[in-house]
């Protein structure tokens, strides 16, 4: 755990308590079974808004608390532990795009409402199944046209921050916007969003696009950290109770060493994820390297831990009744989101002249 201020420690403890009491994995299971159109629990999102978490990365003058990305990452991590289906991780980078953007009217109109949890905002970037391909979306005469695949919270978002060829635009409202849900393994909201001459406001150039995508990737890594640590803790508890050959599984050295190896990787994962979040807050120029390091290590480690969670639980881990499958499915989606481990290793290689 990074060295935290008193304020950050309180925020983290509060987020953990809320997630454990109000948003345990059973809540996610209920939501998965009920499958509401918006893909999240509206009541829980309302509580998150009241607690002010929607405004953690929004400037104080715009209705937020400006606590920064390490703080938001810690909250996202706590929610990730319990697989809370919340639009929080999507609204943060979208809000940053507006706050860093060049349109003052957009700031005045949206940031306060996002901070209060009244609206969901999200990034709409990728146009293919894999992050990083060329972007064909164009803006002519203030109207944006293009199709974005797999937009998180795309079922419910009122505000889209959209990547076009020449930079980043804001599209709000329904004029020229068509959504089609894409049901995925993690049972969260993903939608194809088609923009046909939708009225758009310019926020900034491709530099801004790259920056907020890095913010989103760092938050995905923070969610993966919480998810992986909880998957690991659940597995460790299980090994202490499950008896085979007259012994608790946790007494077998072969399993002990696999767990020790995973703990080792988790400690490294925590360091790189916190490192990326701190790099955002410090405005560091090597943010891209820090994010590629974090997302790549997070992808490998979350994969390792969630696959081992299934294997070490044996048959019960394969059942829908057990939570293990939820962890593996969400980890796989987060790994693919904003560039998988291989994508970020390649980017890291280029940035370092390999």
């Amino acid at each position: 755990m990074a060295v935290l201020t008193e304020e950050q420690t309180m925020l983290r403890d509060m987020a953990r308590e809320w997630a454990d009491n109000e948003s345990p994995v059973t809540a996610f299971r209920k939501l998965r079974d009920a499958a509401p159109a918006e893909g999240y629990d509206a009541a829980a999102w309302g509580e998150i808004g009241q607690m002010g978490w929607g405004g953690i990365v929004i400037p104080e003058g715009q209705g937020g608390s400006a606590l920064g990305y390490l703080s938001l990452g810690m909250v996202v991590e706590q929610l990730g532990r319990n697989l809370a289906a919340s639009p929080l991780a999507s609204t943060g980078p979208a809000a940053s795009a507006i706050a860093l953007g060049e349109d003052d009217a957009a700031k005045a109109e949206w940031l306060g409402r996002i901070a209060a949890g009244e609206v969901v905002a999200t990034l709409a970037i990728d146009e293919g199944p894999v992050h990083g391909a060329a972007i064909a979306t164009r803006v002519e005469g203030g109207r944006l046209t293009g199709t974005k695949l797999f937009v998180t919270e795309g079922d419910s978002a009122a505000v889209f921050v959209v990547a076009a060829e020449d930079g980043l635009y804001l599209v709000a409202g329904t004029d020229g916007v068509t959504r089609s849900p894409r049901r995925m393994a993690d049972a969260r909201s993903h939608a194809e969003v088609r923009f046909a001459a939708a009225p758009a406001t310019r926020l900034g150039g491709v530099d801004l696009t790259a920056k907020v995508v890095d913010y989103a990737a760092a938050l995905a890594a923070a969610e993966m950290l919480g998810l992986a640590e909880q998957a690991f803790a659940t597995t460790n508890d299980y090994l202490k109770t499950r008896v085979q050959f007259g012994q608790a599984l946790s007494t077998f050295q072969a399993l002990q060493h696999r767990m020790a190896k995973m703990l080792t990787e988790l400690e490294l994962m925590r360091s790189v994820v916190e490192g990326a979040l701190e790099a955002i807050d410090a405005g560091r120029s090597d943010l891209d390297q820090a994010v590629s390091l974090a997302k790549s290590v997070a992808g490998d480690t979350a994969r390792l831990v969630t696959r081992e969670m299934i294997q070490l639980h044996g048959g019960i881990g394969m059942t829908d009744e057990h939570d293990a499958g939820f962890y593996m499915k969400r980890a796989a989606v987060l790994e693919a989101m904003w560039g998988n481990a291989a994508f970020h290793r390649e980017r890291f290689a280029r940035l370092n002249g390999y």
Binding site: M1, A2, V3, N236, L239, K240, G246, Q247, A248, S250, T251, F252, Q253, L255, Q256, H257, M259, A260, K261, L263, T264, E267, L268, M269, R270, S271, V272, E274, G275, L293, S296, V297, R345, F348, A349, R350, N352, G353, Y354
Partner: protein, 402 residues
């Protein structure tokens, strides 16, 4: 300058350090490693090296945070960091080192009697005595508590019989801190911590030649060796507790390995060495795509480790208690050191496997030996498997087989 001094509460101390170093550090030694590691064997120090060692020894700055009452520097941690910074700035390395500094000194300061501290600590601080570690035995490596070397109570002295092995630098050591059995009926509680003069009659040392061609380790035989009772540290039977404490010092000094192993190979970044040996494609990338990605993984692993070292240090400083991160350090450090050496010989091809003689550069020959010697780092100081046992049992609360 005035404002800089105001913002740095240690400015006056920094000034003193600079002046002292200017007066005492011989410029001829800049950027030379003059540390007399216990692994390197006796050296014939130049006049400058001897003078530098003497100066640092008298000042106590070789062991800057040890109490000045026993010849240490008596500095605070913050002051010690200033000293380290200032030495690094001019390329000065610490000439005082070895196992006495890394492991035995801190342990004796905690458990020794006043008399023992007065006798041993100042001599370690002045680099006047070489210590070696008498822990492992042929039948007691990872299972250290199975050790058999026996110290029989003869009234005013112990009579010691048995064998130790993997005694680092035993052939050059003056003294040995050893774990010996004083009670054969108990396992852990039958062990005591004893200091033995290596020139005592009955001590015999045989160097062990390693796969790297060097002999940093020895087998050490003890036959009817008389050791005065005053050389017992702590109480009889308390040796396991004291010995384990010493191992913590050892582990923390070893875990720096991966980081301080340096990012350079043959004086260059690893990626550059790879391009020099293997060439680049039309886009300027390393032409071997598989090697390129493995080098990136290694670089990422190294950075993750450095960030973890930094995080653990910050957490320790902020009094959050010892970080769980420290328990994984030795294994990650070992893995990085070994991966780096494996990548190094792979990059160099046949030139990375030269043993001696013509046709190889010095850097290539060094790489061969570094690779071979590096295989020890996951074995000594508690093997990686033992570290994993510690993590599983102490951190994760996993259980012993019933």
């Amino acid at each position: 300058m005035a404002s800089a001094a105001e913002s740095d509460p240690l400015a006056a101390f920094r000034e003193d350090v600079r002046n002292w170093l200017a007066a005492h550090f011989p410029k001829s030694l800049a950027y030379k490693d003059v540390g007399l590691s216990a692994l390197e064997g006796p050296q014939d120090p130049s006049a400058d090296e001897a003078a530098w060692t003497r100066a640092m020894g008298e000042k106590g700055w070789g062991v800057p945070t040890w109490p000045s009452a026993y010849g240490g520097g008596g500095l605070s941690r913050a002051e010690a960091r200033v000293l380290q910074d200032e030495m690094a700035r001019i390329g000065a390395s610490n000439p005082i080192g070895g196992m006495g500094v890394m492991m035995f000194g801190p342990t004796l300061l905690e458990y020794g009697t006043e008399e023992q501290k007065q006798e041993h600590i100042p001599r370690i601080a002045r680099n006047e005595v070489r210590w070696c570690q008498g822990y492992s035995e042929p039948g007691a490596g990872s299972d250290l508590a199975a050790l058999q070397m026996f110290a029989e109570d003869k009234g005013d002295h112990y009579l010691v019989n048995g064998q130790k092995t993997w005694t680092s630098g035993g052939q050059w050591a003056d003294k040995c801190f050893a774990l010996v059995r004083t009670d054969k009926t108990k396992k852990h509680e039958g062990i005591s911590f004893l200091l033995i003069d290596m020139d005592s009659p009955g001590v015999e040392v045989k160097p062990i030649r390693l796969i790297s061609g060097s002999s940093p380790f020895c087998e050490t035989f003890f036959t009817d060796v008389k050791v005065p009772k005053g050389n017992l540290v702590g109480r009889e039977g308390e040796g396991w507790t004291i010995g384990k404490r010493l191992l913590q010092h050892e582990r923390s000094s070893l875990s720096g390995g991966g980081g301080s192993a340096g990012r350079l190979l043959a004086g260059k970044p690893l990626s550059q060495v790879a391009k020099d040996y293997r060439g680049t494609d039309a886009d300027g990338r390393l032409s071997d795509a598989d090697l390129r990605m493995r080098l990136v993984r290694h670089e990422m692993d190294t950075r993750a480790f450095m960030l973890t070292l930094r995080r653990a240090a910050l957490e320790a400083k902020s009094n959050q208690g010892p970080s769980a991160a420290t328990s994984i350090m030795k294994n990650v450090g070992a893995r990085i050191t070994q991966d780096r050496a494996e990548l190094g010989i792979e990059i160099m091809g046949m030139n990375g496997l030269g043993w001696e003689g013509e046709g190889f550069t010095d850097a290539e020959l060094a790489q061969t030996r570094t690779w071979l010697w590096g295989k020890a780092v996951s074995i000594y100081g508690g093997s990686s498997e033992i570290q994993n046992n510690i993590v599983a049992k102490r951190i994760l609360g996993m259980l012993d087989h019933q």
